[in-house]
């Protein structure tokens, strides 16, 4: 199939970017990134600069790939990452606009690659249980009802890709933060630091320059792991409780 691409090209963080157009021959069984591989090989052979984009596992789990495809992070299909999106989701002759995640908190490194270090810093501010190696009790001495474990797991499947930020009109990171806060606040292991954690993480989130949530729901709709919007409700609740407790 013949595909027309309009791809964002930007040399580095400080330079101006622009769109460039390319034509690619794709096969319907190709993944979206394999189409970019093919295009890049062409570009290199023709002596041009290939398009920089982030990717690694190509199994939809590492969270590295990040393309906004026709205005939607990870493209038109629900519940898949860019690397798992296949060309059969497009039609012959389509023109596809590809852009990087856009948010002040995620500066562009080059072309379609962005810096998501802000997410790491949010986790470093409190997204953990403080338990040094060797301090653990026998695993089965902490009983956790299956429903709780399942719900905590659902929140824990976040891959930290940043699609939520990229989809949100406010570039808000609350789905990401909400997922981690939900996971740890539900589990008994997370209780001792429950209130301090949520306050620290929200403070860091604000400091990183993410916007405020206005409950449009775009984040959850575009999340490749389908983290539900309820994690943000949960985040709110946890945060207000902690604040009203003077944390």
């Amino acid at each position: 199939m013949n595909i027309n691409l309009k791809v964002w090209r930007q040399r580095n963080q400080n330079s101006e970017g622009r769109f460039e157009e390319y034509k690619v021959q794709a096969s319907p069984d190709m993944s979206f990134l394999e189409m970019f591989d093919v295009l890049n090989e062409q570009l290199i052979e023709d002596g041009n600069d290939p398009i920089a984009f982030d990717h690694d596992c190509r199994e939809g789990i590492c969270g590295m790939c990040s393309m906004v495809i026709n205005g939607r992070p990870h493209g038109p299909k629900q519940g898949v990452t860019t690397c798992q999106l296949h060309m059969r989701s497009f039609s012959e002759g389509d023109t596809i606009v590809v852009e990087p995640w856009r948010a002040n908190a995620f500066p562009v490194i080059k072309d379609l690659s962005v810096n998501r270090g802000a997410f790491d810093r949010i986790i470093a501010s409190g997204g953990y249980v403080s338990v040094n190696t060797g301090n653990a009790v026998d695993a089965n001495s902490i009983l956790i009802p299956k429903e709780v474990a399942d719900e905590a797991f659902e929140a824990a499947t976040c891959i930290g890709c940043g699609a939520c930020v990229s989809a949100c009109k406010n570039a808000s990171a609350m789905l990401f933060v909400g997922a981690k806060v939900t996971q740890l606040s539900m589990l008994p292991q997370g209780q001792p630091e429950r209130q301090a954690r949520v306050v620290a993480m929200v403070n860091q989130m604000d400091a990183e320059g993410f916007g405020a949530c206005t409950n449009t729901g775009a984040c959850a709709a575009e999340c490749p792991k389908q983290i539900p919007l309820s994690v943000i409700a949960n985040l709110n609740r946890e945060y207000y409780k902690a604040k009203l407790n003077g944390k």
Partner: protein, 232 residues
């Protein structure tokens, strides 16, 4: 204030202010709507005027009015702040347009809808609230009903205002904005409070949708029926 400073400093705090004031405004709308609906009884405005008198004279209502005013100001100020601040969080805009694929247009347009409502509100206050509260006593003119009760005739003021087709159009547009503002705002406030559960969130959503349609509809009907003289 220390404990509550987060309401004006953190993103989640600001959101809470929006939700709390939003719910207060929703409660106000409900009362306002019930009173307005009395116009539709078509009794020459008697019930409506009586209710208006009650509202004007009851001290509890007068105190609430001050709170409501503060709520309005907070909702507007915080809303405008958030709208402009959030817009700055993405300096480089997208070219691709997702349309309504991941969210509703009115959810994304709360600032715009709110601004229309604000403009409408200024006009609305000038039409009725300023007239009834700040003009010299009896400036509105009085009416004496068959039972001998004499009171200010706010109903007549409405009839006067709505003789203008422009006023009717502005009021109807205002109600449209209000409907869409509520369609997002009602459920959104509950989400902000942290109330989200698969068993009751659908109920909140349905009640919210019903409220968002019925209340503005009643508001919008009144100028229309009065303009066309269906209610006199």
């Amino acid at each position: 204030m220390g404990v509550l400073s987060f309401l004006f400093s953190s993103s989640l705090g600001r959101k809470l202010v929006m939700a709390v004031t939003g719910i207060a405004l929703i409660a106000f709308l409900l009362v306002h709507c019930l009173i307005n609906a009395m116009v539709l009884l078509n009794d020459g405005g008697q019930t409506f005027n009586e209710a208006a008198r009650f509202m004007a004279e009851n001290p509890f209502i007068r105190i609430s009015e001050i709170l409501l005013f503060v709520g309005f100001l907070l909702h507007i100020a915080q809303g405008l702040y958030l709208t402009f601040d959030n817009r700055k969080r993405r300096a480089a805009k997208y070219t691709g347009n997702p349309g309504n694929a991941n969210s509703k247009w009115y959810s994304r347009s709360m600032g715009f809808l709110g601004t229309i409502i604000l403009i409408f509100l200024v006009l609305h206050l000038k039409h009725f609230w300023v007239v009834s509260r700040f003009h010299a006593p009896h400036a509105l003119g009085e009416i004496t009903y068959a039972n001998g009760d004499t009171m200010e005739n706010l109903f007549l003021e409405m009839a006067n205002v709505f003789t203008s087709p422009y006023a009717v159009i502005i009021y109807v547009l205002g109600c449209f904005s209000l409907a869409y503002h509520l369609l997002h705002g009602f459920a959104s406030a509950f989400q902000t409070f942290g109330i989200n559960h698969k068993s009751y969130t659908p109920i909140i959503a349905s009640v919210g949708a019903a409220f968002s349609i019925i209340v503005p509809l009643i508001f919008a009907i009144i100028p229309v029926v009065m303009h066309f003289g269906i209610i006199k």
